[in-house]
Structures are given as structure tokens and as C-alpha cells.
């Protein structure tokens, strides 16, 4: 497994530099002279040349490319034109946790909900509930996403007033706040991260228990301690709590909207995959063995139906990135998607390149994660790797 991960990391590095070069040249190939757009035309020509040189805008495309790639390795992504003189890495570092937060949650909800509903649909095929849920799934799957997001805002924010209309925090509340938004946000992520690590650690440990009763105990200890630590974490940060709640309040509607859209596809796919696995001979074997119905559904059928669903996650990554731009724009969520959009529109080339590069890194990491997950879920793959 380690050898496999190592091999993949090397491949990914290579792939990433190909991708980075492609992004660089694509943005270079755009019409227009950047220096002309950003530098005041009243500046004397010799001064303009000096500034252009400082920004690395002189020299041929090839030298610029070489400089960019070598600087990228050292972590220098240049400075933003739009927010001059902020460094690109600083801009991205501010945005990336927000996007990760939004999409990790939306993806988790979508897959957990979609999978568990999908397997139930396939299991009780033919009933009224199956038809109605399937039809709503198809509706959600095919709906024009930006329109759906606006409708959600219309209903839940402007109509019912449950959630803020847009944004990431309420400016009035934060005017004299002792913290910056990102400080609070990072604490939020940290506490969630700790809870997630404890949770998945105990799940892993529970699976290795031979006795079912021990496994159940370990699992409950896992749920309890993850939740307990999370609560404890925020009990010790009484001052920060209202601000954290404010951020969470803003995040709910985008997460719900994104989950609803993404969940439908997973649900329909799970349903289809389940219907296939239910025809397999090993399901009949399980029935003949006297395995309880619920275990046949979850342990035998759904466990196998999970494989194509995981594959779909990889294929769906492109949608997630594209959806990111739309979601963040509609909800004014200041993440990577909206950064990419504003940077592109404003021809802030260093930020746009940097944003694309980081989205690329995230996509590659997600691919790696799925590959590892796949090897864990399907024993047939693990063996092929070893041989």
C-alpha cells in the first residue's frame, strides 16, 4: 500500500507540473497586454519597464514560464494585481479553508444521504415511496443549479428568514470583533478535524474487533468522545463562540443546497448499482444462510454497490469544481470558486493561475484518496497492486 501511494505521489507531481504549465500557457494566450491594463499609462515608459520587470512581466513567454514554475516550487506564486501588493499565496491561504469546509460537508452529506436512501429505494422496489423519491431525485439531478440555489435563497432566506441571504459572516457583528474571520474559521475547522480523526480512528478500530458486542461498545465510545471533545473545545472558547455560530449560520444554506443537488446523483446511482448487486448469486447464498434481511441489504448488497458510487465521486469532481464557482457566487461565499471567478474577470493573472493550481492540487489529492479508498473497499484491487 505504501509503495502504491509513493508511486502515485510521484505520478501526481509530474502530472501537476504538466497541468500547471498548461494553465500558465492558457492564461498567457489570452488577448491583451497585462502591463497596459494594470499600469497607469501616465507613468513614464522607463518606470513602467522597471515595474514590469519587478512583476516578472518582461522577458519571453518561456523565461516567464520557467520563472513561474521554479518560483512555484519555492512557494512564491507572485503578487496579486488586483489586491497589490498582497501575495497570491496569502490570498489563497485565506480562501482555501472556506471552500474545503463547504465542499467537505456538502460532499459528505450528499454521499451519506444519497447512499443510504439509494440502497433503501432499491431494496423496496415498486412502492409509492420508491416512485416518489426516485422522481424527486431525478428532478434534483436535472434542475438548473443556479436557479435552484436562488429559489432556495428566496424560500429560506428572504421568505422564511431562517438564514442570512448571503455572505460568510454578518459585518455588523464583526465590526469590533477581537478576532478575524479566519481565526475563528480555522478554530472551527480544527475542532471538526479533531472530532473527525477520533471518529474515523474508532470506526477503524471497531471494525477490527472480532466480537460484535465489543465492536459496538468501541463505536459508541467513538461517537461519544468525538462529540464530547468537540463540545469541550467550544466550552473553553466562550468568547469566540458567538462568532463561530455566526459563520455556521451562514454556511447552512449553501451546504444544504449543494448537498441536495449532489445527493440526487448519488442516490440514483446507488439505486441502480443496488438493483444490479441484488441479482447476484451471493445475495441468494446470503438468503439461504438465513442472514437477516437488513444484513443482506447493508452487508452484502450495499457493500458491493458502494464500489461504483466511489468511482462516480472521481468522475463528479469536475462538477464539484464547476459547481463551486456557481455556488460561491450565488451565495457570495468568499472561497476559491468566487476567487477564481473575480480573478479571471479582472484579469488578475497570478491569482487566477494560483487558484487553478490549487484546485488542481485538491482534485489530485481527492483522486488519490479515492484510489486508496477503493483499494480498501475492494480486495481484488489490493492484490493486483501487490503482484
Amino acid at each position: 500500500m505504501l509503495k502504491f501511494i509513493g508511486k502515485r505521489l510521484i505520478q501526481m507531481t509530474f502530472l501537476f507540473f504538466l497541468f500547471l504549465s498548461l494553465v500558465f500557457f492558457l492564461l498567457q494566450a489570452q488577448p491583451g497586454d497585462i502591463t497596459a491594463q494594470f499600469l497607469d499609462p501616465t507613468i513614464p515608459a522607463e518606470n513602467r519597464a522597471i515595474i514590469a520587470e519587478r512583476l516578472g512581466l518582461d522577458g519571453s513567454v518561456w523565461t516567464q514560464w520557467w520563472n513561474y514554475v521554479t518560483n512555484f516550487i519555492t512557494g512564491n506564486l507572485g503578487v496579486s494585481f488586483q489586491q497589490y501588493p498582497r501575495s497570491v499565496i496569502d490570498v489563497i491561504a485565506e480562501r482555501i479553508p472556506r471552500t474545503l469546509f463547504l465542499f467537505t460537508f456538502a460532499t459528505l452529506f450528499a454521499y451519506v444521504l444519497g447512499f443510504s436512501l439509494g440502497k433503501r429505494l432499491a431494496w423496496r422496489r415498486g412502492g409509492f415511496s420508491e416512485h416518489s423519491v426516485t422522481i424527486s431525485g431525478v428532478l434534483l439531478y436535472t434542475v438548473f443549479y443556479p436557479w435552484f440555489a436562488i429559489i432556495m435563497i428566496l424560500i429560506f432566506s428572504s421568505g422564511l428568514g431562517w438564514f442570512p441571504i448571503n455572505g460568510f459572516l454578518t459585518p455588523e457583528l464583526w465590526r469590533n470583533a477581537p478576532f478575524t474571520g479566519n481565526e475563528v474559521f480555522n478554530q472551527l475547522l480544527l475542532s471538526l478535524g479533531i472530532a473527525a480523526v477520533i471518529f474515523s480512528g474508532t470506526m477503524w478500530f471497531a471494525r477490527r474487533q472480532d466480537e460484535r458486542s465489543t465492536a459496538r461498545l468501541v463505536r459508541w465510545v467513538g461517537y461519544g468522545s468525538a462529540l464530547g471533545l468537540f463540545v469541550l473545545f467550544w466550552l473553553t472558547k466562550a468568547e469566540m463562540r458567538p462568532f463561530a455560530l455566526n459563520i455556521v449560520h451562514h454556511a447552512i444554506l449553501p451546504i444544504v443546497t449543494l448537498s441536495l443537488i449532489a445527493f440526487a446523483g448519488t442516490m440514483l446511482l446507488t439505486r441502480g448499482a443496488m438493483l444490479e448487486t441484488l441479482k447476484e448469486d451471493y445475495i441468494l447464498t446470503a438468503q439461504a444462510k438465513g442472514v437477516p434481511e437488513k444484513d443482506i441489504r447493508d452487508k452484502h448488497a450495499a457493500r458491493n454497490a458502494l464500489l461504483p458510487v466511489v468511482t462516480s465521486f472521481v468522475l463528479g469532481l469536475a462538477f464539484i469544481i464547476g459547481g463551486g464557482v456557481v455556488t460561491e457566487t450565488v451565495f457570495s461565499w468568499p472561497g476559491m470558486g468566487s476567487l477564481l471567478l473575480t480573478a479571471t474577470v479582472a484579469e488578475d493573472v497570478p491569482v487566477a493561475t494560483g487558484a487553478l493550481a490549487f484546485i488542481g492540487i485538491l482534485a489530485l489529492l481527492a483522486h488519490l484518496l479515492v484510489d486508496i479508498l477503493y483499494a480498501v473497499l475492494d480486495p481484488r484491487i489490493r492484490i493486483q497492486d501487490a503482484s
Partner: protein, 351 residues
């Protein structure tokens, strides 16, 4: 003598020997239909047979004759559109068809286990074979086996069926076809069932492995005193391993009796034709008699005897009245109006 290469089971189960004790499994007047868009398919019609304890029984017939439907009814695993319209399946004194779902679930594998048709795919690919065998033990053993007990039992079973116990923690795809089938047999034995149903246990395997698996099954039956029901379209397999056999045609049992007797002298025209159409390697050379025609459409089975459109010995009554199973010798029953016309020797064709 029979003119075929098949060896009937070695033990001589002469006529007087068929009722040594109360049967462990008894099927009485089983009627099963499948509900389809076009109507009702009469898949199993009035089938009765009994399996004495520690013996083996084979059901043979062509595809679609209802033999697998019978097997699945014994386990109550028939498809959703199957309707059992009548009859009883009595396993050790209990009518399985009267049990509720949960009671039946607990009896499966504990009392009656099954080696499936296409056992190659009987294993769930994502769990090790050991885990899947233990799953059955966890459900049916009382009390549940501890990890070491389960392992010891599985090792014992693996040794019994001739697999290296080291393979317990391996995944199904690491097993060869024959090994998978052996492991399925081991799993079928894991809860000490009273009866095992083997539905085409060797169909997907090559002949050499087929032979080994059959030997294994025979050994298990002999050594453990297991009662086994075999389902096969391969009459050679049935000849080799069963004490009793039933021949099914178009959902009906047409001949039933000791395997040795039936091979020595088939009395039903269908059995006689099947055996006549089978070439022999060791017997005298003879022209094969073909079995003309096709099995009937069971949506609308023929009136009278279901075999009459293909029967060379057909007489008037066959077209109108259904023959019932009649005992012509002790333990040997057939359903035919005109069996006295069936020749003593197998057909020599148009020689």
C-alpha cells in the same frame, strides 16, 4: 448392461431397502406456479418424493422442467412471483411451508443448507471466505461461537473438503473454481444441517474437478451420514452419486425409484428415451435414438400426459387423461398409461 458408461451408486438399494426408516425429508403433492404477465406458468405440478435419512436423492430433467423450482421451494427461496398453491415440505416432522418468515430464516442452513447452481458466484467478493462461513455460524450456532471456536470448526471443515486451512483468510477471487466449490460445501456443512441440497453442484467445473467434487460429496455423505438432494440436468452425475432418483418432465415427476433400478430398466418412455439418446463409452456400440421435439410451454401445458406430444408410445388416453404415479415394483413408481410397451432394452435407433 444398461448400455451406458454411467455407474449407478455402488450400494445396492434393492426394492425392499427403500423404507428403512422414516424419511428425513418428504415432499407431498407440491404445486408451484409462476405468475407472469401472460398468466400462470405451471412450473411444478403435484410432485411428491421422500428422502430417507443418510441417503442421497437426485432430481433430473431438462432445463425448465421445474427441478430448481423444487429445490428453491425446499429452502423457501423462490422468486417473488412464485406461488406455492399446494403441498407440503416436511423436514424432520416439520412442514416448512407453514413456518412464518422468521422461523424459516432460522431453519435455513441450520436444518437445510444448499450448494448452489453456479457456486462460483456464491461468494461475496468483498469478504474473506472465513468471514462468510463464520457469518452462518454466528446466526445459527447457539451459543454463538467464539472467534477461536469458529476458526477451529472452519479449519476442520476445510480439511474435510480438502482445502488448505491457510486459505480461510483469503478472498474468494484467490480461490480456483474447484476450491470455491469445495469451500461452498464446507460452508454448507458449517451448521450441521439435516439435509443439503446440491443444485447443479458441478456444472461450471471442468470434468476432472467435477469428478473430484463428486467424490468429495460422496465421501461426506458416507462418512457424516448426510442426507443430500442433488439437482442436475446431467444424468451421468445423478447415476454416479445418488441412491434414489426422480425424473422430472415439464413440472411433473414422471418416474421415481432406486437409481440402480431405473438405470437397469427405465420404465417411463421419457427416461427410456433419455438413456437411449446417451452414448456409451464402455458398452456396446449402438445407434443413438434422438428425443424429438421440445419441452412444452408451461403457460399452457398439453392436456393429459404432458409428455404425450413427444412420446413414441402414445395411445388415446394419453391425450385426455393425466396419468398418476403408480408403483410398478416396490419403491419404483412411474406416471405412464402405456409403460408396458416400453422395451426392456434401450433403443437401438434405426440400425
Amino acid at each position: 448392461m444398461t448400455g451406458t458408461q454411467m455407474r449407478p451408486a455402488e450400494r445396492n438399494l434393492g426394492s425392499g431397502d427403500t423404507h428403512p426408516q422414516a424419511p428425513i425429508l418428504e415432499v407431498k403433492n407440491l404445486v408451484l406456479n409462476y405468475e407472469v404477465k401472460e398468466g400462470m406458468v405451471s412450473a411444478v405440478e403435484d410432485v411428491s418424493f421422500a428422502l430417507p435419512k443418510g441417503r442421497s436423492l437426485g432430481l433430473v430433467g431438462e432445463s425448465g422442467c421445474g427441478k430448481t423450482s423444487v429445490a428453491l421451494t425446499l429452502m423457501r427461496l423462490t422468486a417473488n412471483n412464485a406461488r406455492v398453491l399446494g403441498g407440503e415440505v416436511i423436514l424432520d416432522g416439520v412442514n416448512l411451508l407453514e413456518l412464518d418468515k422468521e422461523q424459516m430464516r432460522l431453519r435455513r442452513w441450520a436444518d437445510i443448507s444448499m450448494v448452489f447452481q453456479g457456486a462460483m458466484n456464491s461468494w461475496n467478493p468483498v469478504y474473506t471466505v472465513g468471514v462468510q462461513i463464520r457469518e452462518a455460524m454466528d446466526i445459527h450456532w447457539d451459543p454463538k461461537p467464539s472467534a477461536s471456536e469458529a476458526r477451529a470448526k472452519t479449519e476442520e471443515l476445510f480439511n474435510l473438503v480438502g482445502i488448505d486451512p491457510e486459505m480461510i483468510d483469503r478472498y474468494p477471487h484467490e480461490f480456483s473454481g474447484g476450491m470455491k466449490q469445495r469451500a461452498v460445501i464446507a460452508m454448507a456443512l458449517s451448521c450441521d444441517p439435516k439435509v443439503i441440497i446440491a443444485d447443479e453442484p458441478t456444472t461450471a467445473l471442468d470434468v476432472i474437478v467435477q469428478e473430484q467434487i463428486l467424490e468429495e460429496l460422496k465421501k461426506i455423505q458416507r462418512d457424516l451420514g448426510m442426507s443430500i438432494v442433488y439437482i442436475s440436468h446431467d444424468i451421468a452425475v445423478i447415476a454416479e452419486i445418488t441412491d434414489l432418483m426422480g425424473v422430472m418432465y415439464a413440472g411433473k415427476l414422471v418416474e421415481f425409484g432406486p437409481t440402480a433400478d431405473i438405470f437397469a430398466r427405465p420404465r417411463h418412455p421419457y427416461t427410456w428415451l433419455i438413456l437411449s439418446s446417451t452414448p456409451s463409452i464402455t458398452g456396446p456400440r449402438r445407434q443413438l435414438a434422438p428425443l424429438e421435439g421440445e419441452p412444452p410451454n408451461l403457460l399452457d401445458p398439453p392436456t393429459g400426459c404432458r409428455f404425450h406430444p413427444r412420446c413414441p408410445f402414445v395411445i388415446e388416453i394419453c391425450r385426455t387423461d393425466e396419468p398418476t404415479l403408480t408403483e410398478i415394483e416396490p419403491g419404483h413408481t412411474i406416471a405412464c398409461w402405456n409403460y408396458t410397451q416400453v422395451p426392456v432394452t434401450l433403443s437401438r435407433g434405426d440400425e
